[in-house]
Subunit: 342 residues, 2 copies
């Protein structure tokens, strides 16, 4: 292992001052062609790269942004990350990802280390149970921040999200129009606004159609857990003929669980998901879902952050993108035999 080359090493090798070497590296100032070549050759030879800690301290330039997310394992999120990186990399930024696994303590440690390292901006899906102190922390340090998916009540940051309420209203409406009367809401995490928004949309549609009571069933965002949970839901509420799900992952888990109970999704029970991950189209039966394009969402998110970085004083804004109903095989008209009619 060699030791790290620095600017003075390059300058010495090229026989110039560090000031000159620095100007060559950055292509600024008035430097003759001859010395420029000498310096570049030396830099090449030593594999020299300027230390961005020192550079950013002096110049204030920060071309690195962080994406603090609750679960990188989720394929939807992975797609979002692709969109974000593609956009920001063309602008010369490095994107590094911090995974909180939805743990508020881990998130806090991550964000503190992030702030200490003084990077250019933050994209953030707040973890469950994020407390006020964490918001205050980011605010106190003036970090350009855009929240994503989950919107803190404080409203002090830019936000990019999904039109959850409208989407769930559409999904529920669609199922009701197919003749379903007992429609349950399945999956999701308790604490955050996203799920509340979706549930509200579901409830509004239920009310519109005069359907009561609403059935809401918790379940972590995991395929295996959903398989087990759907059994309990069906045991407690055998009359349910349709299920709107908080996400595709739990929806697919629910379909698997139903199949193991001898029920056919799309015939005996209709299931609709949210997100449109790759597996939704590949599942058997294929999953109807409320689709959003994670890749495009990622690009949008990146653009909002750049705008914020370039203009730190504009008031925070909110961008909501719509979700679109995609009908596949997992939903269908209500079966006569399944629900006893009165």
């Amino acid at each position: 292992m060699t030791s790290k080359p620095k600017l003075s090493t390059v300058a010495d090798l090229a026989g110039v001052s560090t000031a000159t070497a620095s100007q060559v590296m950055r292509g600024t100032g008035r430097i003759s062609d001859a010395t420029r070549k000498k310096v570049l050759a030396a830099a090449q030879k030593l594999h020299y790269l300027p230390d961005s800690r020192a550079a950013s301290m002096r110049s204030g330039e920060k071309r690195e942004i962080g994406f603090a997310i609750h679960r990188i394992a989720n394929p939807f999120n992975a797609e979002v990350i692709s969109g974000v990186s593609d956009f920001l990399e063309t602008e010369g930024y490095l994107v590094s990802i911090l995974d909180s696994r939805d743990n508020a303590d881990r998130q806090r440690r991550n964000l503190e280390a992030f702030i200490r390292s003084s990077r250019g901006g933050l994209l953030w899906v707040p973890a469950e149970n994020t407390d006020e102190r964490t918001y205050a922390l980011l605010h106190a340090h003036g970090v350009p921040t855009v929240t994503f998916l989950r919107r803190p009540g404080t409203g002090q940051f830019d936000h990019v999200g999904i039109e959850n309420m409208a989407a769930m209203r559409t999904a529920t409406d669609y199922l009701a129009n197919l003749g379903h009367r007992r429609i349950a809401y399945f999956g999701g995490e308790v604490k955050f606004g996203v799920r509340q928004e979706r549930i509200t949309g579901y409830q509004q549609a239920m009310a519109d159609h005069g359907l009561a009571p609403a059935i809401i069933w918790d379940c972590p965002d995991d395929k295996g857990e959903a398989m087990a949970a759907i059994r309990q839901l069906k045991a407690k509420h055998p009359e349910v003929t349709a299920i709107v799900c908080n996400g595709d992952v739990v929806a697919i888990g629910a379909m698997l669980g139903l199949q193991r109970m001898g029920l056919t999704p799309g015939k005996d029970v209709s299931v609709i998901g949210f997100d449109d991950i790759q597996d939704a189209a590949l599942a058997t039966p294929s999953l109807s879902t409320m689709a959003v394009s994670p890749y495009q969402l990622g690009r949008r998110l990146a653009r909002v952050l750049l705008d914020r970085i370039n203009d730190p004083d504009m008031p925070p804004g909110v961008a909501l993108v719509p979700a679109e109903l995609v009908v596949r095989e997992s939903t269908g008209p209500v079966q006569q035999a399944a629900t006893p009619q009165r």
Copy 2:
């Protein structure tokens, strides 16, 4: 947006010098209880966090490591990342992830930015087509580096990997003992040693059983692509009754493709995967596979990096962990009707 608090802000508010404030923050030196409290109160009030760029420049302490990986979207990798983070976080490190999406250019940009930011160490799954210059770059900067899964030929870094050859030999052997004669190798990327090792294991087992010729079929590591590719494989080689796959993702894709062709995995065609991702057990039929524990692998990986950081001069080492055969429903004895016997 407030502006970032610095040490001098804290010191002023507490009425002491920056030297004193610094010592309080780090708990070193001789400081009276009274001033300690004053400084801590000021720091608290301002949400002060020391700038790690300045701190690490002066002290040389770097408590941040990078994980440069080829695909975060892969659930196996996501589990590895969890293992890595859990281990390193207890040691006070921040883990940030760089996703190359197996693109050598993107990887180079990522690694250059990484080096410029002078962090403590690097975990690295080299992208396809990584060139010598990239290895030289890391070496020239003396970055403590551990490669993972894919091992560069140069052998200059520590490495943690899987016993690919032995595992594939086991898998192929198992299928041959079930009576299969035409066994194909399916999936994987072309360039890297991992796949070559696995193919070698497959070929050795084929030779041991006097089975020829070997059939090797390329396919990107994607479920949808695998569904399509398996059709072509079966069209070209209808006599194949068993398929060893380069990974669970393509194996599951292959099963889906076979099912759409009216074939039943485990009866008409046996399929065996590699990795044991969550979906392997949840698939229908459930997938037999060569299992490795990604979480444990991650912890191991982290430990090797810490050892390297603590002792930069020890010669590079290699750790290979075994994979274990897990038999589920996707494999079974060869069917009489399926292969014409001579």
